[in-house]
Structure formats: structure tokens, C-alpha cells
């Protein structure tokens, strides 16, 4: 049952978005998030949302898959909409019951926030669906590389390596947990019954072996890396160098246009 939990949402497809340089994708994601927040009226927000949907379409991943991510944040959407609907005054009064008063501007704010949150989630999903975790850590390492002028070259590399290893070990640890749970069940451990304290106690026979095996694994990995002369960032070269190609320049230009139009719409209306 625990195996069903998928980690890392990468979906392999052959699309323009998949082929983009991960550094550019990461940079543009941050830019899109900033501009979605900057869009201050309905026109600019609708425009940048439309652009977001165009990007979703380019990624060749079905909308259904994207909306799965939205389902998880429905409580947050409802909560923010309610707060906005209740606390903004102005416009005509639509509904009142005791201290609850809902105005037209409240409804407008609620819709505005909902669209904004949905766009944010959708555009963030594009990155996680189209970029492998390894590419992503490489991108982060590359984008943080200016820090080497501050004498932090090794620190950046170490952080990126730690992230890569952590991501690599998640499936292995899930499998290990499954195995340990099965073997404790074979000794009659029950994890589904009893009160809170009993359940927490029932976790110990799983957590302790899991912790010990992670420590063992990390020792083994450290030794394997050392025996292959791993030496941190010093003198290390990459197998896959990241290069900007035409696709990347085109996507960058496209995004600049989207951002400019958003700002113009902000100013005009």
C-alpha cells in the first residue's frame, strides 16, 4: 500500500517544454510566479492565466493530470475565498446575516484570488511534471554557481549533491519501510488498531530498523564514493553540459512578451 505513494512527479513526454534547459525553466517559473502576483486587474490576470494554459498545452500533458494537483489545495482555495468574500467591503451589499456581510467587491476578490492560486499551482506543476529531479538539482547548482565568488563553491556543490542523494534514496527507503513493516507484521505487530499512544508505540519496531538501515546505507554510499575518489567540487566535470539552444531563446522571448503585455494591461485598465 505504501508503494502507491509516488514521489517526484516527472512524466516523460517529448515536448518543447520537456526539452528546455532546466535552468531556464526554473528561472522562468520564478518570473511567472512574480508576474502572476503583479497582475493587479482582471484583464492582466486573465491574460497571464491564458498564457499559462498555453504552456500547459505545449507540455503535452493532459489537463486532467494538472488538475489532480489542484484537488489537493481545494481547502486552501475555499479558505482564502471565504476570507476575501467576508472581509472586503465596497460595491453593493448582496447578503447579510448578523455580522456576515457579503458585497459584490468581496465576490470579485474571491474569484480573483481563486484564479490567481490556480494559475500559480498550474505553472509550478509544469516544472515538476516536465523536469526530472536530477535535472532540477543540476539547474539549482548551476544557478547558484555565482556564489563561488564568495568562496562558497564547495558549499553549493555539496548542497546539490545532498539533494540528489536525498531524492535518489526516497524510493529505496519506501521499499525498505514496506519490507520492515511486513516482517514486523509477520511477528504479530498490529499497526491499525489501538489508541494514539499504542499506535505511536507500534511505530517503534519500524522506525528503529529504518533509522539503522539508513545510517548503514549512508556509510556504504560514502565509502563507495570515496573509493571512486569523490572529492567534492574540486576538478569535477559534468557528463551532460547544459547549453542554451534556439528553443530556449525563443521561450525566453515569448515569456518576455507575456510579462510585458501583463504590465501594459495593468497600466491601461
Amino acid at each position: 500500500m505504501i508503494k502507491d505513494v509516488s514521489f517526484g512527479q516527472y512524466i516523460s513526454k517529448n515536448s518543447l517544454i520537456h526539452k528546455l534547459d532546466p535552468r531556464l525553466k526554473l528561472f522562468l517559473l520564478i518570473a511567472y510566479i512574480i508576474f502572476i502576483f503583479l497582475a493587479s486587474n482582471a484583464y492582466s490576470l486573465l491574460f497571464i492565466t491564458a498564457a499559462t494554459f498555453f504552456i500547459l498545452f505545449l507540455s503535452k500533458i493532459s489537463l486532467k493530470t494538472y488538475f489532480k494537483n489542484i484537488r489537493m489545495i481545494i481547502p486552501i482555495i475555499i479558505f482564502t475565498s471565504l476570507l476575501n468574500a467576508l472581509y472586503s467591503g465596497g460595491g453593493t451589499l448582496l447578503f447579510s446575516y448578523g455580522f456576515i456581510k457579503i458585497y459584490t467587491s468581496g465576490i470579485y476578490r474571491a474569484c480573483f484570488m481563486t484564479v490567481r492560486i490556480i494559475s500559480l499551482i498550474l505553472i509550478s506543476s509544469v516544472l515538476s511534471y516536465t523536469t526530472t529531479p536530477t535535472d532540477l538539482t543540476d539547474a539549482i547548482e548551476s544557478l547558484l554557481s555565482p556564489l563561488k565568488y564568495l568562496g562558497l563553491k564547495n558549499a553549493v556543490h555539496t548542497m546539490a549533491m545532498m539533494m540528489t542523494i536525498a531524492l535518489r534514496f526516497i524510493p529505496a527507503l519506501i521499499e525498505e519501510t514496506d519490507k520492515i513493516m511486513s516482517s514486523q507484521k509477520a511477528r504479530g505487530a498490529s499497526m491499525e488498531s489501538g489508541g494514539l499512544i499504542k499506535r505511536i508505540k507500534a511505530l517503534l519496531p519500524i522506525l528503529i530498523p529504518l533509522l539503522i538501515s539508513s545510517i548503514r546505507r549512508s556509510y556504504e554510499l560514502a565509502e563507495a564514493m570515496e573509493s571512486r575518489c569523490y572529492n567534492g567540487a574540486e576538478g569535477r566535470v559534468r557528463m551532460k553540459e547544459m547549453h542554451f539552444i534556439n528553443k530556449d531563446y525563443f521561450s525566453f522571448a515569448f515569456s518576455i512578451v507575456v510579462f510585458s503585455v501583463t504590465i501594459i494591461l495593468n497600466i491601461l485598465f
Binding site: K179, I180, S182, S183, Q184, K185, A186, R187, G188, A189, S190, L204, P205, I208, P209, I212, S213
Partner: protein
């Protein structure tokens, strides 16, 4: 009467994913995307004081089958009977059968967690709800059978050697006094002395408690030494469930699924081909030594 009976058990992993795949791909190629079963229509049975060896190449479904025996995996079809009772009949009663059908996983030493060896072995009996006196008796007995000395009882299980850890983990199952003992490659990764000690503990337990043993192993030598019958699996299918003689007689079939007869049998087959001996149905070194010495003593006395 059969102590444990497995009837037409089938199971496949990733059903949901496969269903989806079949729906979309069926149109193009019907045969290619039929769900591949981890185990397919397996039937066998075991009696008291009987040892069944399970052999098969990597990925032949041995481990999956072992986990269905004590109900950790519920088969898609078919079922398991313990003393005539269907263990999957009542979901809430299922865990009780796990005390009767003890399963020792591969590398069971990774399940150890308590502060002391004694406490760890008593985890199983405690889950059975026994009183303290009974628990202490069972734990001491189990640790005796696997040959762990008294002075190690209060040590941390993590301070022991690999072979000792393995034996403590085995004791953790034996302390529940299962009537059927299921072992998934119990000797993997042990040195020859460790292997011998572990196999002896298993046989001693079986003899003392009149228990049935089902043991998975890659070592034909080990299985030939202790098994009464062999269950041969290949890609989830049951190839044979028969006596040692009948399984090893058909060497070509074993070789065709990536297995072979024990090393000593190969020697005896070669000797028979040269006409030096007349019996090659020999599966243990001891038997082989007896036959060879008898044959040649006969020849040289003439």
C-alpha cells in the same frame, strides 16, 4: 492430514496500472499486454515434520508465494488452508494465523529493534498476549535452539555478528512456536559455518515441535540435505512439486529454467557415464562418499 494446503494461488502486482494499460493498448496488440502474474496457479501441501524446498530462478515468484502463505499478500484467486481453515476467510482473524505460520524474511536481521536480544525475541510472543512466565520460557527455548548463549541475552542485538543477528531474528519467529515455519533464503550471505548452524537450528526446531518447514534457497546442496520434497517455480508457474529423486532426475528441464542438480550429483553423473559406478541418484556428499568408497573398496579387494 495436510497441515498447510495451498490451492490454485495466483497473484499479480500493479493491478491498477495494468488495467489502465490494457484499456489503451488492447486495440493494437492483444497478447502483449496481458498482466504478467507474479505467481500463477500454485498448489502444494505440507504435512507435519515435513520439509519442502522451494527453488526457482531470480524473479520466479518465490518471495511473493512465501508472503501469501501467512496472509501478508492476499492472492487474487485461490487460497491457503491451515488445518483445513481458509486463512483469508475472516480479515480480523487473519493475524492469528501469523503466529501459527511463522515467516522469516530474507535478511531478517534488519528487523531487529529492541535494546536487548532477549527483549527483541520476546516481541512476537508479547504480541500473542502470553503471560510473562510463558514468554520467558519460550524466548529462552528459542534462543537455545538457535545456539545463542545466555551471556548474550542482555546484549544489544546490534553488537552481535552478522550470523548471530540472523539467528536471533530466527529465534524471534521460533519463540511464537509456529506449526509451519516458512523461511525465505535463510542462509543467504552467511559463511559455511553460519549456514550449517542455521540449518541445524531449523531442523532441530522441526524435530522438537513436529513442525512443517517450507524453505526457499538457491543452494541445491542445502535443500538436498534437508528437504523431503521440492517445489520448482519458473516465472511464476509451478514446474514441479515432487520428491527429490523425481525433480533431479529430469536434469534437462531444470537446466532449461536456469537451475541445475547439486554439484555432487554432477560428479556422480559423470562417474556413471564413465561406467565407474552404477547409481547417480545421489544428492548429498555423505551418500556419494558412501557409494564411492563401497564401490572402490569392492574393486580393490578383488
Amino acid at each position: 492430514m495436510n497441515l498447510l494446503e495451498v490451492k490454485n494461488v495466483s497473484f499479480s502486482y500493479n493491478k491498477a496500472a495494468n488495467k489502465k494499460e490494457r484499456k489503451t493498448k488492447n486495440k493494437t496488440d492483444n497478447n502483449k499486454y496481458i498482466t504478467k502474474a507474479a505467481i500463477n496457479n500454485i498448489s502444494f501441501s505440507v504435512k507435519n515434520n515435513e520439509v519442502i524446498g522451494v527453488i526457482g530462478h531470480t524473479g520466479s515468484g518465490k518471495s511473493t508465494l512465501m508472503q501469501t502463505l501467512n496472509g501478508l499478500i492476499k492472492p487474487d484467486s485461490g487460497t491457503v488452508y491451515f488445518k483445513g481453515n481458509n486463512i483469508f476467510l475472516n480479515k480480523k482473524e487473519l493475524y492469528k494465523f501469523r503466529f501459527k505460520i511463522g515467516l522469516v524474511f530474507q535478511y531478517p536481521e534488519y528487523q531487529l529493534f529492541e535494546e536487548t536480544v532477549f527483549k527483541d525475541v520476546s516481541f512476537g510472543p508479547k504480541n500473542m498476549g502470553l503471560d510473562e512466565e510463558n514468554i520467558n520460557k519460550r524466548v529462552t527455548e528459542a534462543l537455545n535452539i538457535v545456539g545463542i548463549k545466555k551471556d548474550l541475552f542482555s546484549k544489544s542485538p546490534f553488537d552481535l555478528s552478522g550470523g548471530q543477528k540472523r539467528r536471533v531474528a530466527l529465534a524471534g519467529i521460533l519463540a511464537m512456536k509456529p506449526e509451519v515455519l516458512v523461511l525465505d533464503e535463510p542462509t543467504a550471505g552467511l559463511d559455511p559455518v553460519g549456514r550449517k548452524m542455521l540449518l541445524n537450528s531449523i531442523i532441530n526446531y522441526k524435530n522438537q515441535n513436529d513442525a512443517a518447514v517450507i524453505i526457499v534457497s538457491h543452494s541445491m546442496e542445502d535443500l538436498a540435505k534437508i528437504s523431503d520434497k521440492l517445489l520448482v517455480l519458473n516465472e511464476g508457474n509451478q514446474v514441479a512439486f515432487d520428491t527429490l529423486n523425481n525433480v533431479f532426475k529430469n536434469r534437462e528441464r531444470l537446466q532449461s529454467i536456469g537451475l541445475d542438480v547439486p554439484e555432487v550429483t554432477k560428479i556422480m553423473i559423470a562417474l556413471k557415464e564413465k561406467g565407474l559406478i552404477n547409481n547417480d541418484e545421489v544428492y548429498t556428499v555423505k551418500e556419494a562418499a558412501d557409494i564411492i568408497t563401497n564401490t572402490f573398496r569392492g574393486c580393490c579387494n578383488d
